[in-house]
Symmetry: C2
Subunit: 644 residues, 2 copies
């Protein structure tokens, strides 16, 4: 709104009152008046007083633009400040780190000191006890983010120098997000506890000398890394279920897997668009088969379907969209069978609408480069029939198995019976290993719950009158012990009086046989914790807190270093118990949530909620920013169809 | 600023005048008064009138926050709208495209129709003449962005389905930017002209039948693609200069190269940090050797140096920073020798300060996995000495050579003498190929400037009195012809009268010998256009404009289809001339600019200018946004040190 003419004329006519160093021309004088403190006529008010509402409306864009400008300038100034390079003089290095001595059973170099032990940034933890963590996944990061800085001399050993936020890996296979947004360099996470990272693969352990054998990528000779506490958190590999031809499948566990899938999907689409491709070949190239109806399989199927419908359709020949088929082979009678029934049904309904072919109650028999052979068992007749489906791309995402290192550890130890993971007690100590020195967590560990193995121990502890029987008072004490030792069993025992009555059968006391029956029945009901990020992270946090307590203990009683180093961690800290926070999955522009006692499925709104949950569970601010940027990028520019 | 107590007390005491549906409690009534239209006491003014300045200050954050919120909500709403999938019914497909007939010399399938010819989005260009472009680089994109939509039936053939913004590739090798930000799917660029993309590698041409032979990745059988105009724009490969052991080098031409370098650099750093690595081995791993002191080599050296000083130093052992060495081997006596002298000196001074080892006047003799052997010629004595430098990473970035397809094309044609590229005339027509059907541009083409080859033609045209000599009037006419035909020669002829006088030597006319002398002298002075993005893009734009004119010509005279299809493009359109816009390079947090007649080098400010130039020359908005996001990301979170 311009100044009213009358006011303007008046102000132009008014002589200016500021002293000047030269005699201004008439025009200049007039102009200066507008900006100088002129005498105001009586009753004159500035514009913003006379028309505050108009002023506010006019000023708003300037305020907004100005603030944005200031923010940008600030960012720019900050950016400019990041190119400063302090030239650090030569750093001191421990001579032992440069020329390590040899030792151990295999006479390898023993890394008694590391080349960055004397660096300024690790000075805190230099003389502490050595905590060695094998692996850099959820469990490992759970520990690193909750360990007291300086409490331990921490070293992480992993063949990958990054943490991978794998729940979003299916999104990375088609470019909804980028893999770079899902990784975080482990060194940055380790920096919090002034720890060390070693780029290598753990291959063997010498439990008696407390040496971990590490193989370096491409290097001839392995070396030994000494530890006081060893944490095995190196995850799992995919289970083969003994199916032949799995070398023709893709998997979805690593960054490389996601990249390979993305390349292959685009490769198939591009090949299908070539004029020389025969019709049969095109149909094969466009047939995507997913073996496994768990969250990974379902989310990959959804992401693939979305890419086809949101991006491929706009830029590639229409024929491709018509001929693409996605098949999902599931061994149970529902997909997402570990979720609530309502959730599975929603997912199946959604998939039916999207024309994703669900093959239920089917077991894969063989995978070849051209097709997948499977058998279906009719749930009514029990008869098994064999079928096959052409496949230009097969994804294998079923179950977990031990990787070579955990296999080796299990082979070294007595009492390791589990097929798919290392057995640990409820304090996460690996069973059979020297007590208090080796822990395992995450996908590579499973908490042992065979109560009956501990029967005699419990009876000895609780049979106070030594009559070989357990009366009701002793039974209550025993229950206390059991719950402490096997927290997961608690909800399966029910009311103590009721069980006692049921098993005592009117005799007033329980003998060994009755107790064995009870323990076996309860053990059967306890299910292992699922192999999820959530469990691994909670186990990591649990272990970090325990290690913090142990570190304080060390500082109190300085040296208990008698070779068999036994921390009384079952006295100092309670056993691990898992608190399930719920599961969620993404299904073709909608999402499902299965929280304890509450399940929920829905469209776009649920999808945004799903995204927020993942944003909030991301490990770092950087990951959050990059994920958000990726989602905005998809929204504005679509997925990148470039294949490399 | 809270309301003054007196005012508040007054407003609480005042009875409210709005009708109410229930009798409110005293407190409620008081509260409602604050929000309802109460009777105002005389002279009462709202807060924003009484204290407009305070109000403005208080309101500003809300205005800013609100605007941002509205913008975010808008983005969100837009995002939600992008998940809509129109279900297109089955698309029509030309039966010829599904069952192509065989033909040509090799009896391959002939792609006379493509499966997306009948798609809605290509309907414009369906019946037009066929323009086939081999390659998807700067030249190709230059054409695609300036061709009239619908003027031609365009097909791009390339083994990569993306355009790569390669000037920033050195930044992608250490994670300053991501390779995803440098690529743009070709299909999106092609969509502008309703064109087609075929994922394949051109391997051969049948000029007489106008068929391009294409090999599909992984497919057994090649196919023929018919064309009316063929544009060869498939770039070059690195020149080996006959040096043995180049398989031990990295190159920097493709996305895969940049990814491989990034992996290797991180791999070397991680290995050097292992306790088992011997001191000699560590020094070798941390020795980076760059062969070639042109812009690519210099920029890579700078980026590497920055990553080490900005990121490695914060998270990796300090010893690494101390031991890293970067060596740059250059065959001339200055780095960046094609730039102005001032620029080279600035770059060298900068490198000296950064302790980057420049080895000048040196020729690489051999590269082994462990070291680089080179010879240095003393510029004074002329004596050659042999040296070697340990290398854990060797980059080869010197010169260009023909790729297999351009080699094949050159072998098929007469009059192709050039070693490194296809010779074209100044209309970009490949010399020796049927006139008006085959063009070449970018790195794979060089414009022929041997004036003397055309001597007789010029004389025949201009010797009007047929006396076998050229007098001054005829010479002026000839100069006109020459300048039209060889625009690059113009600046080397100088003033016509002067040359005539100089060569005619007082005889008043030029014979064939004098003319030949003149032509040879001028040809020597003409340098080939450099193999840069700038030249390729200008050639692409030039060709697009010419093709637009030719398309209009076709539409006028409908059918000239007599097998030997000759567009009179030298009559319809002028020859290509290159306009140099300047060169720039990035040198360790500073940048240098070499514009025609003006060169400039400087620190951070120049670096930001360098970034703006690249932002402005990016091909799409998407690339610009992603590049900016990458730079902000580096600023806030540093480079990603994850290795995968």
């Amino acid at each position: 709104m311009p100044l009213p003419r009358a006011t303007l004329a008046r102000s132009l006519a008014r002589p200016h009152s500021t002293p000047s160093f030269f005699t201004p021309s008439r025009n200049l004088a007039a102009k200066r008046t507008l900006f100088s403190r002129a005498q105001k006529p009586p009753g004159w008010q500035p514009f913003y007083r006379r028309h505050p509402r108009v002023f506010a409306v006019l000023a708003a864009p300037f305020v907004v633009g100005g603030s944005l400008g200031v923010a940008l300038l600030g960012l720019w100034a900050y950016d400019a400040s990041t190119y400063h390079h302090p030239h650090a003089g030569r750093v001191p290095v421990d001579p032992v780190a440069l020329k390590p001595e040899r030792g151990g059973k295999k006479n390898l170099k023993v890394a008694a000191a590391l080349i960055d032990d004397l660096d300024e940034r690790v000075v805190n933890a230099r003389d502490k006890k050595r905590l060695v963590i094998v692996g850099g996944g959820w469990g490992s990061v759970g520990i690193l983010q909750h360990l007291d800085p300086g409490a331990w001399h921490v070293t992480v050993v992993s063949p990958d120098n990054y943490f991978l936020f794998h729940p979003l890996l299916p999104s990375a296979t088609v470019g909804t997000v980028e893999v770079r947004s899902l990784v975080e360099p482990l060194r940055k996470i380790i920096a919090r506890v002034s720890g060390h990272f070693l780029y290598g693969r753990a291959v063997d352990v010498d439990f008696s000398e407390r040496l971990l054998e590490v193989a370096c990528p491409g290097d001839e000779e392995n070396f030994y890394l000494p530890y006081d506490k060893l944490v095995i958190a190196c995850g799992s590999v995919n289970s083969t279920h003994g199916v032949p031809g799995l070398e023709n499948c893709f998997q979805l566990k690593t960054v490389q897997d996601a990249q390979a899938i993305r390349r292959r999907v685009m490769d198939n689409l591009e090949k299908a668009a070539l004029p020389s491709t025969e019709e049969d070949e095109r149909r094969k190239l466009l047939s995507f088969v997913i073996c496994g109806g768990g969250p990974t399989g379902v989310e990959f199927a959804s992401e693939l379907w979305e890419m086809v419908n949101e991006d491929v359709i706009s830029y590639m020949p229409g024929l491709l969209r018509d001929e693409i088929k996605v098949h999902l082979i599931q061994s149970r009678d529902h997909i997402l069978n570990t979720y609530a029934e309502k959730i599975s049904e929603y997912a199946e309904e959604r998939f039916r609408r999207h024309e994703i072919d669900m093959i239920l109650n089917a077991r894969v028999k063989e995978v070849t480069p051209q097709k997948v052979v499977y058998t279906i068992k009719d749930p009514k007749t029990g008869k098994t029939t064999e079928h096959e489906v052409d496949s230009g791309f097969t994804l294998w995402s079923t179950g977990i198995a031990m990787n070579p290192f955990t296999q080796r550890v299990a082979a070294l130890l007595p009492n390791q019976y589990h097929k798919h993971a290392l057995e640990v007690d409820s304090h996460l100590r690996v069973i059979g290993a020297p007590l208090g020195t080796v822990y395992a967590l995450g996908d590579c560990a499973t908490i042992e719950t065979r109560l009956v193995d501990h029967l005699l121990e419990f009876v000895t502890r609780c049979d106070e009158n030594k009559d070989g029987k357990i009366d009701e008072r002793e039974f209550k004490k025993m229950m206390g012990f059991i719950k402490r030792r096997f927290p997961a069993s608690e909800k399966h025992f029910g009311k103590i009086e009721d069980i006692f009555k049921q098993y005592a059968d009117g005799k007033g006391a329980l003998g060994l046989n009755e107790l064995a029956d009870l323990f076996i029945n309860v053990s059967r009901k306890i299910t292992a914790f699922p192999a999820t990020a959530q469990v691994a992270e909670q186990e990591g946090i649990y272990l970090a807190k325990k290690l913090n307590v142990l570190a304080k203990q060390h500082d109190a009683h300085v040296a208990i270093d008698n070779g068999v180093y036994d921390d009384p961690d079952d006295m100092l800290y309670e056993p691990f118990n898992y608190k399930h926070m719920g599961s969620l999955a993404y299904i073709g522009n909608s999402a499902v949530f299965d929280f304890p006692g509450f399940s929920f499925a829905g469209g776009l709104a649920a999808m945004y909620l799903w995204r927020s949950v993942y944003l909030s569970t991301s490990v770092t601010i950087r990951q959050r920013c990059l994920l958000m940027a990726d989602w905005v990028k998809r929204s504005l520019f679509g997925r990148d169809l470039s294949k490399f």
